[in-house]
């Protein structure tokens, strides 16, 4: 593999062994075990890259079959196997190596100055248990979702199909670079790569105006975050003189030094640059992971095909921000304010988007707001210095949220794009929808945090640790949010999947020939999902249940303990909940909140009968008890339905002023800047015109000018030297 910047290799390679040579990565590292990892780990990023290239070939050769999908599934499955072997080797029985770097090729290597200043960013991969944890679910879910998409996207076979899987593969490659990169520049490449793929896939239906607008919104919102990230990367380089993890995390003069200072409470000795880095990185993380105030792009991103929503906008890409914070936890720990900021934003976002989700009718959007909300949990988790809780929640959430999205996708696929929960009911009792409905139920139970599900355990880790580490307010906010989450989750389940059977087709309905729209609606039959969708949902159903068993094994704790985020948590257990040990009491408290939420949902939206334990009474799809409740709550419900008017607020306070400024700038640009540029363009020409007569083509004139020139230059130099 080679890249455009590969040619910079010799600048590095051929550097002599003298004083100039930079110390090899990791040589100075102390304390951590630096192991070896085979070159095969490169299969994880490069198999998807190969896949995307093959998809391009498929497009060129106008493949009309499902070939691109099978290429993708095969490549990603290979990547998953490699990720699993990587996980086995990193956390093997012999303790494994704590970290290792596998180098693919030299990428960027600028050197200058006499003191060996260098900007080195190899195309290398940093492997530790945090990397493994992320890559396991990224590659695993990507494989399953690609299989799902092979059926879901089948009506687009041809160029669109190739385009979809091209971007899909490219996404996994970028995500692998982001997570596995051994330096911040490769992380940045991956970061921008996933952003690009997200843009491409949100705008997949590029003829649909709303999809294009959503793609642009996502892209622009992410630019704001990316500005923060890039500034953070630059500041890291300016301050530490390197971007490589091997040095940043393991050189005792770098992160470990500041972490030690922070743990000793000596914050005064930490320079402001180091304190600023985590805040800048956090801005980047908030953009990518859709946190307040940059979250508004994620719900709109649901314009993309559902597999994309499941993979990119629920399970993997949006957790990149959490990864960034978890990876750079040592430097975050050096700034209490940065951690506080992350906790504040995380908890607030969790609550805000949960309230919005309660009043939405589009089930995919509900899941999108739910994702935003759950990401808030994860941020709080890592920022209360419980990275294992945060990471475990990322892991479990990836499974059950992907399940939920894929179920919504199956419904959307089967009911001609119908997503309104008022127009669907009793899907479970329709023929062929059992697996979808069961998977949905398992996903909902996880999301609602019903006891003994994976979601319950991982959420409790975060909740308990926020009380333990003295962030009780955040803990209570998240507890309340857990209750709201349980409500809106089961609102969807009770409305759509159980109860009286009712289905109206959505707007993707195309009447057959000689059939009016009304007739088409009347004759509409949902088409049940095929084998691929059912198989994937079945696997995810089982997977979502099994993930819970990792909790009693303390898997996430072990994974985090051996990574760069290990050993950072505060040692003192001072916090309590209601005067008791948070870890124990949280099992009960959060269970109560979760079950209460479900019961309220059952009362307000549940159908008659066993499903809602007899407390529900909904007898038709359109209405429920909740409708009667809405006027009583007053404007709050209305505002929540309008998403607290955040979009309108942004429009009024940011977009409009910007537009005005843009008009003013445009005028100024034409008058001033263009004038200036033209002046600068004109100056060289003027200079050229001035000296042009010297080129008169006459031999003797040239000779005189040459001799004169020699004289003038010599005189000039003599003058310069003497002065």
């Amino acid at each position: 593999m080679t890249s455009g910047l590969d040619m910079l290799t010799p600048l590095a390679d051929l550097i002599g062994s003298g004083a100039l040579a930079a110390p090899p990565a990791g040589e100075k590292a102390a304390g951590a075990v630096h192991g070896d990892i085979g070159a095969w780990v490169m299969a994880i990023p490069f198999l998807p890259l190969l896949g995307s290239l093959l998809c391009v070939l498929c497009a060129i050769f106008k493949v009309k079959s499902k070939l691109p999908a099978w290429i993708t599934v095969a490549g990603l499955a290979g990547a998953f196997v490699a990720a699993f072997v990587m996980f086995q080797q990193t956390t093997g029985a012999d303790g494994g190596s704590q970290w290792a770097v596998a180098k693919a090729f030299d990428w960027i290597n600028f050197q200058w100055g006499s003191e060996g200043q260098a900007l080195v960013a190899n195309f290398s991969f940093y492997v530790d248990s945090l990397t493994c944890l992320w890559m396991l679910f990224v590659t695993g879910l990507a494989t399953l979702i690609a299989l799902y998409a092979s059926e879901y996207m089948s009506h687009d076979k041809g160029p669109g199909y190739c385009r979809f899987f091209f971007a899909f593969n490219l996404f996994v490659f970028s995500m692998a670079c982001l997570v596995m990169g051994d330096n911040l520049l490769l992380l940045f490449l991956g970061w921008e790569g996933v952003g690009l793929c997200s843009y491409l896939l949100i705008g997949y239906f590029y003829k649909k105006e709303s999809a294009v607008a959503a793609a642009k919104k996502a892209f622009i919102m992410n630019r704001i975050g990316d500005l923060g990230l890039s500034l953070g990367v630059m500041l890291t380089f300016v301050h530490f003189g390197t971007l490589e993890y091997a040095q940043l995390f393991h050189d005792p003069e770098m992160f470990p030094k500041y972490l030690a200072l922070a743990q000793a409470g000596d914050f005064a000795s930490i320079p402001w640059q180091v304190e600023l880095i985590p805040i800048l990185l956090a801005v980047g993380a908030f953009g990518k992971s859709a946190q307040f105030p940059l979250y508004v792009w994620l719900p709109d991103a649901m314009e993309g095909p559902t597999p994309v929503s499941a993979l990119i906008h629920a399970a993997t890409m949006v957790t990149a921000g959490v990864y960034l914070v978890a990876r750079f936890l040592p430097v975050f720990a050096a700034n209490q304010a940065a951690l506080g900021l992350v906790i504040l934003i995380g908890a607030f976002t969790a609550l805000l988007s949960a309230t919005i989700a309660m009043r939405q009718y589009d089930i995919k959007r509900i899941m999108a707001y739910s994702t935003v909300s759950q990401l808030g949990y994860m941020f709080v988790g890592v920022a209360v210095l419980a990275p294992s809780g945060g990471a475990f929640h990322v892991f479990t959430h990836a499974f059950f949220k992907a399940t939920l999205f894929l179920c919504c996708g199956a419904v959307m696929h089967g009911f001609a794009g119908q997503l309104d929960l008022r127009k669907l009911s009793g899907v479970m009792s329709m023929k062929g929808w059992l697996i979808v409905s069961l998977a949905m139920l398992v996903g909902c139970l996880n999301l609602a945090g019903v006891p003994f599900t994976a979601g319950y355990f991982s959420k409790d880790m975060i909740l308990a640790e926020s009380f333990v580490n003295g962030h009780a307010i955040a803990g209570w906010v998240l507890l309340i949010t857990a209750g709201l989450t349980a409500y809106y989750t089961f609102r969807v389940f009770f409305r759509v999947f159980v109860g009286p059977t009712h289905a109206e087709p959505g707007e993707d309905l195309h009447p057959h020939e000689g059939e009016s729209m009304e007739e088409a609606k009347a004759n509409f039959h949902a088409h049940a999902p095929g084998w691929a969708i059912n198989l994937v949902l079945g696997i995810l159903l089982v997977g979502s249940i099994l993930v819970a068993f990792l909790y009693p094994m303390h898997w996430a704790d072990d994974m985090i303990a051996t990574s760069t985020a290990g050993g950072i948590g505060a040692g003192d257990h001072t916090g309590t909940v209601l005067g008791m040990d948070p870890h124990k009491v949280m099992y009960y408290v959060s269970a109560v909140f979760g079950v209460t939420g479900i019961l309220i949902a059952a009362f307000l939206h549940g159908p008659k009968g066993l499903w809602s334990l007899g407390i529900g009474n909904r007898s038709e799809a359109e209405t429920s008890r909740a409708d009667a409740l809405v006027p009583k709550v007053g404007p709050v419900a209305h505002l929540a339905e309008r998403k607290w008017l955040v979009d309108e607020l942004y429009h009024a306070t940011i977009a409009m002023p910007l537009r005005v400024i843009a008009h003013i700038s445009h005028a100024l640009d034409r008058l001033l800047v263009d004038g200036l540029v033209n002046l600068f363009g004109w100056l060289p020409r003027l200079f050229g015109r001035t000296i042009r007569p010297a080129q008169n083509g006459l031999l003797h004139s040239y000779a005189i000018r040459m001799v004169g020139g020699v004289g003038v230059v010599v005189l000039l130099v003599v003058l310069v030297t003497l002065l």
Binding site: G4, P10, F110, W112, G113, S114, L699, G709, V710
Partner: protein
């Protein structure tokens, strides 16, 4: 003596080929005459292979330079030979094809090819020079044949005018640097470069170079400015390039320039670089030359309507860029005894850039050589006006692509070869802490972008103009020109990724700089220091 002879195998090979070509070109059989280019290319390839295997002479401060430079010369020489193939005697050969009798006195083929090879031999000798007289003779051997080649390159008077200008001004330039060489001899008491380096090192340790030495170096550099087409000796460049046919112009853009830069490096390597910079007056001179050259070249290129003149000014500007690398010098690290690194060694950057520039500029000239129209006097007229290139993409897509790639390459657009070559010029100058110069270099690259991008826009984006006064352009029948164009365009892309780094590494080795040590104390031991010995830390501080 034997070692010296062994280092001359490439030149000897070329010389033998030259003799063979000279005879072959006079052959009455057209088929035999047509073998000339092939034979020349074979000779160059052999010479290149031999150059790779020659052992370096360890005496001069730049012991590895001959190996790199000769190989480079052979490589680009093959490209030039392809481009030149079929140029000489084109009208006359056509007459013979139509039945005219061959007249050895009228035929130029043999001379043309032997002059080409003489020039290349001179260039190689230049790289291997270890003596001022040798260097002077080699430089003249490079240039003298080119005067004739310009004159016979087309049948027009324009070419003869160009040749006359070139010859007289060339003589003037040669006089200037010869005067400089004489002064250097006067200051050092020897014409041997290694001895000069030792004497200069001693003088610098004892309080600096004397005015005669400084004056000699300054005049040498100013005279060599003619060879590299730098201000104030640049006036001839556009006129000569325009008067010559495009293939010969391509040769002029590469061969004398390379000779000039090699000579400049050889002379400046004789001076010790205390703290990584030249002695003040010479430093000031090179600084001024670099700034003037790139600025004058670029601003005048902006105004051109003729593609050849534009490329001529671009060639002037590129000399300015490379002078920045010259000023950056061997780098502090090398002066302290470490190996050359292209990131910090300006010498390595210049050597590598010569390759990059050679490939790109030959491509641009090759496009002009490939496109021609018949003119009333029967002699084909090459494309020259920028309007000829307008909308080339619609009529000759491959040539348009080559032109665009060459322009991008000359502009230094990433990720093409031009960028790979230009970057070390920047980094080495930054390492040498020539920040103002780097800024000027950047600004000049921006100015240059204007006319290079115009070249690209003209060829790729615009529509061809059909004028009744201007017959349509056709592809020249010589396949060599097309091959050269396509090869250089391929090189601009491919070498950026594959092979380029290795060539840069080769340039690094070529730039290995072993400064002469100053021997303190009375015992004036002969200068005989092994390359791997610890540097003597004596400085005039």
């Amino acid at each position: 003596m034997e070692a010296k002879l062994a280092s001359l195998y490439p030149e000897i090979t070329l010389f033998i080929t030259t003799c063979a070509v000279m005879v072959l070109g006079l052959s009455p059989q057209a088929a035999l005459r047509r073998l000339c280019p092939g034979l020349a290319i074979m000779g160059l390839v052999f010479a290149g292979v031999l150059a790779l295997t020659t052992t370096p002479g360890a005496e001069t401060p730049l012991p590895m330079l001959p190996m790199y430079a000769k190989t480079l010369v052979a490589g680009v020489g093959v490209l030039l030979a392809l481009l030149l193939a079929g140029s000489a005697d084109r009208v006359y050969e056509a007459m013979i094809d139509r039945g005219a009798k061959f007249d050895a006195l009228r035929s130029n083929t043999g001379e043309f090819w032997s002059f080409f090879l003489f020039s290349m031999t001179g260039l190689m000798l230049c790289a291997g020079a270890d003596d001022l007289i040798w260097l002077f003779l080699a430089l003249e051997l490079v240039s003298l044949p080119t005067y004739v080649m310009v004159a016979v390159s087309t049948g027009r008077n324009r070419s003869k005018e160009a040749a006359v200008k070139y010859f007289f001004l060339g003589a003037l330039g040669a006089a200037v640097f010869l005067y400089g060489f004489v002064l250097i001899y006067g200051a050092a008491g020897s014409t041997d470069l290694a001895t000069i380096a030792t004497v200069f090192a001693q003088q610098q340790a004892e309080g600096g170079l004397g005015p005669i030495a400084i004056g000699g170096i300054m005049l040498s550099l100013l005279g060599l400015c003619f060879k590299i087409a730098a201000v104030p000796m640049h006036f001839y460049t556009p006129d000569v390039y325009q008067g010559a046919s495009a293939p010969v112009a391509a040769m002029l853009a590469f061969v004398p320039k390379t000779a000039g830069f090699i000579a400049i490096l050889l002379i400046l390597a004789c001076v010790r670089w205390p703290d990584g910079a030249l002695p003040e007056p010479i430093h000031a001179l090179v600084w001024v030359l670099a700034v003037l050259t790139m600025t004058v070249g670029n601003v005048l290129a902006l105004l051109q309507r003729s593609a050849k003149r534009l490329l001529a000014y671009s060639s002037i500007a590129h000399s300015g860029y490379m002078l920045v690398g010259v000023l950056a010098g061997p780098g502090l690290a090398q002066a302290a005894g470490a190996d050359a690194s292209i990131a910090t060694s300006g010498f390595a950057a210049v050597l590598f850039y010569l390759f990059v520039y050679g490939i790109s500029t030959v491509g641009a000239f090759a496009v002009l050589a490939c496109l021609e129209r018949t003119s009333p006097d029967g002699e084909p007229e090459e494309a020259d006006d920028l309007d000829d290139l307008r909308g080339l993409w619609k009529t000759h897509p491959s040539m348009a692509a080559v032109m665009a790639l060459s322009a991008f390459g000359l502009l230094g657009l990433p990720p093409l070869l031009g960028f790979v070559g230009k970057l070390p010029l920047f980094t080495s100058a930054i390492s040498a802490e020539e920040i103002p110069l780097v800024i000027i270099l950047g600004l000049n690259s921006a100015i240059a972008a204007f006319y290079y991008l115009r070249l690209v826009a003209l060829t790729l984006l615009e529509n061809p103009e059909k004028l009744p006064t201007r017959p349509e352009l056709k592809m020249a029948p010589m396949s060599g020109r097309r091959t050269a164009a396509l090869l250089s365009a391929t090189g601009v892309i491919v070498f950026a990724f594959i092979g380029g780094p290795q060539i840069a590494g080769f340039a690094e080795r070529g730039a290995t700089y072993i400064p002469k040590r100053v021997h303190t104390g009375e015992a004036a031991a002969p200068v005989d220091t092994p390359a791997d010995a610890e540097p003597v830390a004596v400085r005039d501080e």
